[in-house]
């Protein structure tokens, strides 16, 4: 597939890396020659220097032959114009990043459908959404829905004092009672392992579990984890993300404290929020944070524009006893490191946006995809075709490609957590955990 991307920022870079790694033909357009040069040296892509919204440059990039157009420059207007132009050149699908909310309020006569853009994404909105989703399960650092919410993939960090440390997966399977679950992956020291029965769970592992939504509480009980919705939330940073999170929490009748250093912003926030307490001091002011009771918070969300402030205030809160923290960081390379420091969830808006675009790109044979932050893996939802070689055979006799793990089977709306005797039928939707490298192989495997 030929893909033209304009904008070589963090999002563009991440998408390029991912898509070129999957053997797509990627052309990247940007104005900054230096950035292009360094990217071209490391990635298997073609780069073109110039304005992404100019017809000449787009033609040079081979837009007429492109199947997908992704506009992720820093300027909303350039992204929109480029996408409109791409449509004129006959590109099948286009994606634009738009930060300014006024451009995509539903009431506007120029919405994305009119413009022919398939996906408009706003990183701030996506991150706020992600934060709210994760906050609902207080122990998890990641929650992804599959099969319209029937099945969830949940990521947990296993602490040292957890009794399941040192138990093999096979033993754990015997422990389980009426409820089924599959541990599809373990992330240990930044390395993703697709576990087999003999693998042990160790302290500090991050485990990914696929489970029915209604069994989630029981499974958490088994793992000695408890999920209760947070009652007291601290939001540090009153930017777009902070405001959205505070607003959503407020609606859920949660006590929200919002900390923002800029007095003018504070006034604006106080005007638009009703129950939340808006405080005007710097997020690094430890004394003020403690006197406002950050130590008793169930959840701390640090989403200022400064990485330092976010990391330090999260660490402070955790040190004094806050239960969980979600930290925004703009440099995704540091995400694996933050887990070691004790930060529960680190989110990079750009990475989240890039992952959302990737999810959209994969939609085709694949029903939905989740890219797991800070790991080498993805979870894909695929349908078993009638022509598949292994239809009506028990799972024991089917060799899935290495690096993959079947998490759940959805048959006519019913969820089956698979075992060796499960028989796969045509039309089943499979939720498969797969290392990124193995994704094309898995697709091929299920198509054969």
């Amino acid at each position: 597939m030929r893909i033209v991307i304009i904008g070589s920022g963090e999002v563009g870079r991440h998408i390029c890396q991912q898509l070129s790694g999957e053997d797509h033909e990627v052309v990247l357009v940007d104005r900054n020659a230096d950035r292009l040069k360094s990217l071209e040296q490391n990635l298997n892509i073609l780069t073109i220097e110039g304005n992404g919204a100019s017809a000449g440059i787009l033609e040079q990039a081979g837009i007429a032959k492109a199947d997908l157009f992704i506009a992720v420059t820093d300027i909303d207007e350039v992204n929109l114009i480029a996408c409109i132009m791409a449509k004129e050149y006959g590109v099948l699908r286009s994606v634009a990043r738009v930060r300014n909310e006024e451009y995509f309020s539903g009431a506007s006569p120029l919405n994305e459908h009119r413009l022919g853009i398939d996906l408009l994404i706003n990183p701030d909105q996506v991150v706020a959404h992600e934060i709210i989703r994760i906050s609902e399960v207080s122990e998890a650092f990641e929650v992804v829905d599959f099969a319209s919410g029937e099945v969830v993939l949940v990521g947990y960090q296993i602490k040292e004092d957890n009794p399941i440390c040192g138990i093999t997966l096979a033993d754990l399977k015997d422990l389980r009672g009426l409820y089924d679950f599959v541990i599809v992956a373990i992330v240990r020291d930044g390395e993703t392992i697709v576990p087999r029965g003999a693998d042990l769970i160790q302290a500090e592992d991050r485990i990914y579990v696929v489970v029915r939504r209604r069994d989630m509480a029981a499974v958490e009980d088994l793992f000695n984890l408890w999920s209760t919705a947070p009652k007291k939330v601290f939001v540090i940073g009153g930017g777009r993300v902070g405001f959205r999170v505070a607003k959503a929490m407020e609606r859920q009748k949660v006590d929200v404290v919002l900390v923002e250093a800029d007095p003018i912003k504070c006034e604006h926030l106080a005007e638009h929020l009703s129950n939340a307490v808006v405080l005007n001091f710097d997020g690094l002011d430890a004394h003020d944070l403690l006197s406002e009771g950050i130590d008793t918070a169930d959840l701390v969300v640090a989403v200022t524009d400064g990485d330092t402030t976010n990391i330090l205030s999260s660490l402070l809160a955790k040190y004094h006893g806050a239960k969980k923290c979600i930290t925004r960081i703009s440099r995704p390379d540091f995400i694996p490191l933050l887990g070691k420091l004790g930060i529960d969830v680190a989110l990079s808006p750009r990475l989240v946006a890039a992952n959302m675009i990737l999810r959209f790109v994969r939609r085709g044979a694949v029903l939905s995809v989740a890219t797991l932050l800070g790991s080498e893996a993805e979870v894909v939802e695929l349908v078993v075709s009638e022509r598949w070689a292994h239809v009506n055979k028990p799972l024991k006799s089917v060799d899935f490609p290495p690096g993959t793990n079947l998490g759940a089977v959805v048959r006519q709306g019913k969820v089956i957590i698979p075992s060796g005797d499960t028989v796969l039928k045509a039309g089943d939707r499979l939720i498969i955990f797969s290392m990124k490298k193995a994704v094309p192989m898995t697709e091929q495997f299920l198509a054969s």
Binding site: R2, S20, D23, E25, V26, Q41, N44, I45, L46, G62
Partner: protein, 492 residues
């Protein structure tokens, strides 16, 4: 730098070459020259060594730019070492160093030989000699990129180390596709020339071998007298045309073939290259007429044009013993030796574009003396050339001179006369083939001392990979942060 990655990729390349070593067996059996065992044994050795390396070394997640240099540099050294085995094992070339010289001369498309009589080799070895040139012409790594999926990761690091060149030319977003396009064009031209040579009266075997060595700008012939042995003006003409084509950037060929008729017209480098070639042809023709070397002006044109284009594109085929020509002609040829083909062609040498830019740079320097406040932009194909590109070209030229002087010093230091010694270095460093004097077109490199041969072997590979890729391997700090290979059997 991870030795594991280097080892694994080197292993794959050896396996690939071992497969190539099986092809001459067909010729050996067909012509019954009785040396097919040499190829079988060589191939088996390559399979075992390559397979062992590829199996035991665990390659890292990606190829960094440092590993790229080592992989390409060692691949060429190893390829020549493996390619030398058939010569040595069949007994055709008794000494391994001589066999290595011949093999390296093949892969680097140099065309220098240590053989007294080429015909003594037998058809299968002659084919192998020509085939190594063809493989090396477009580049063994580029070829592997085109067909081996294993090199897909980090392929661009290797591509850059093997086909450096001052200008960038990507034909497709993916490097594998670019490699495939280049090889297809190369293959197409080779097939076309084979057919034309057969129509002009060559046998199929000779036509294939000569087409291989023409497109690769290599210059190995199946005859000791090179192309002169065929006594055919038509063959001369076909070869002149195809060496000229081989000296042109293959991206331009592809653009032209895919319907971009103006591709040739836009290239300043192409005009410069053709200009140099035509000018040299006329100059040599005139000098030969003045000195009465040949009986007719037509002969002067025929031999002048052949020698000029053959040397300019660093091919090294001969139809005349230019060592017997007038000194002015000899000097013109030596000057042409440095120029080489265009960047992105199969030709060696300094490359036309570097000379062209150097000339433009010098012109700007002189104009600045006249107008000290003048603001000048050096342009190529109507685009401004970045200062760093000019700097890298100047650096390259200085390095070229240094390498030339050091190598010549070592060779002449062993008692070789200055004409023979310096032209031997020029002929190998620029991947041409024959030099003057003791290494002239009708002589060979067999008489040189071993140390000189070793130096010339290094010159060939350094010249083929445009110096840096080989020179960097000799720098101690390059090897500072070497990480030991991770073996397949070792636990993590």
């Amino acid at each position: 730098m991870r030795l594991g990655t280097i080892g694994a990729l080197l292993g794959w390349l050896l396996i690939f070459l071992s497969a190539a070593l099986l092809i001459p067996i067909g010729f050996s059996i067909y012509y019954a020259d009785g040396i097919w065992q040499a190829f079988v044994i060589s191939s088996a050795i390559g399979f075992v060594l390559g397979g062992g390396l590829a199996w035991s070394c665990v390659s890292g997640p990606e190829i960094g730019h440092r590993e790229g240099f080592a992989i390409v540099g060692f691949s060429w050294l190893a390829a020549a070492a493996l390619g030398a085995l058939p010569y040595y094992l069949s007994g055709a070339i008794p000494g391994y160093l001589d066999a290595y010289f011949e093999s390296m001369s093949g892969f680097t498309t140099t065309g220098s030989t240590i053989l007294e009589r080429v015909e003594a080799l037998g058809p299968s070895l002659l084919f192998w000699r020509a085939f190594t040139q063809w493989l090396g012409g477009m580049g063994i790594i580029v070829l592997s990129l085109a067909i081996l999926p294993i090199l897909g990761i980090g392929g661009m690091q290797l591509f850059r180390a093997e086909m450096p060149g001052p200008t960038k030319d990507r034909l497709a977003p993916r490097i594998q596709d670019t490699a495939r396009i280049l090889w297809s064009v190369y293959f197409l031209f080779t097939a076309l020339e084979t057919v034309l040579l057969m129509l002009a009266g060559m046998s199929f075997f000779d036509a294939v071998c000569h087409a291989f060595c023409t497109l690769a700008t290599g210059g190995f012939s199946t005859r000791t007298d090179s192309v002169a042995a065929f006594h055919s003006p038509w063959i001369d003409l076909i070869i002149i045309i195809f060496v000229m084509l081989a000296g042109i950037n293959f991206s331009l060929h592809y653009r032209l073939l895919s319907g971009d008729w103006k591709a040739f017209g836009r290239s300043e480098e192409l005009r410069f290259y053709l200009g140099v070639g035509v000018f040299a042809t006329i100059l040599i023709m005139l000098v030969n007429i003045v000195f009465g070397t040949y009986n007719s002006w037509l002969d002067s044109l025929r031999y002048g044009a052949f020698q000029a284009w053959s040397v300019l594109t660093t091919t090294g085929f001969g139809t005349a013993d230019f060592d017997q020509w007038a000194p002015a002609c000899k000097f013109t040829l030596v000057a042409l030796m440095f120029l080489g083909g265009m960047a992105g062609s199969t030709g060696g040498g300094i490359k036309q574009v570097r000379i062209l830019m150097f000339w433009k740079f010098t012109r700007v320097q002189i104009r600045k003396l006249i107008h000290p406040k003048a603001v000048e932009a050096i342009k190529l194909d109507n685009h401004k050339v970045q200062a760093e590109v000019i700097q890298s070209i100047l650096g390259y030229l200085s390095l070229y001179v240094v390498v030339f002087i050091v190598a010549t010093l070592i060779v002449t230091g062993q008692g070789i006369d200055i004409i023979t010694g310096s032209t031997a270095v020029i002929a190998t460093l620029n991947n041409i083939g024959p030099g003057l004097g003791g290494v002239g077109p009708c002589r060979n490199f067999a008489g040189l001392p071993d140390l000189s041969k070793a130096v010339l072997i290094l010159c060939m590979v350094a010249g083929r990979l445009e110096l840096y890729t080989i020179i960097i391997l000799l720098i101690p700090s390059y090897w500072k942060d070497v990480r030991r290979p991770r073996w397949r059997w070792s636990k993590t």
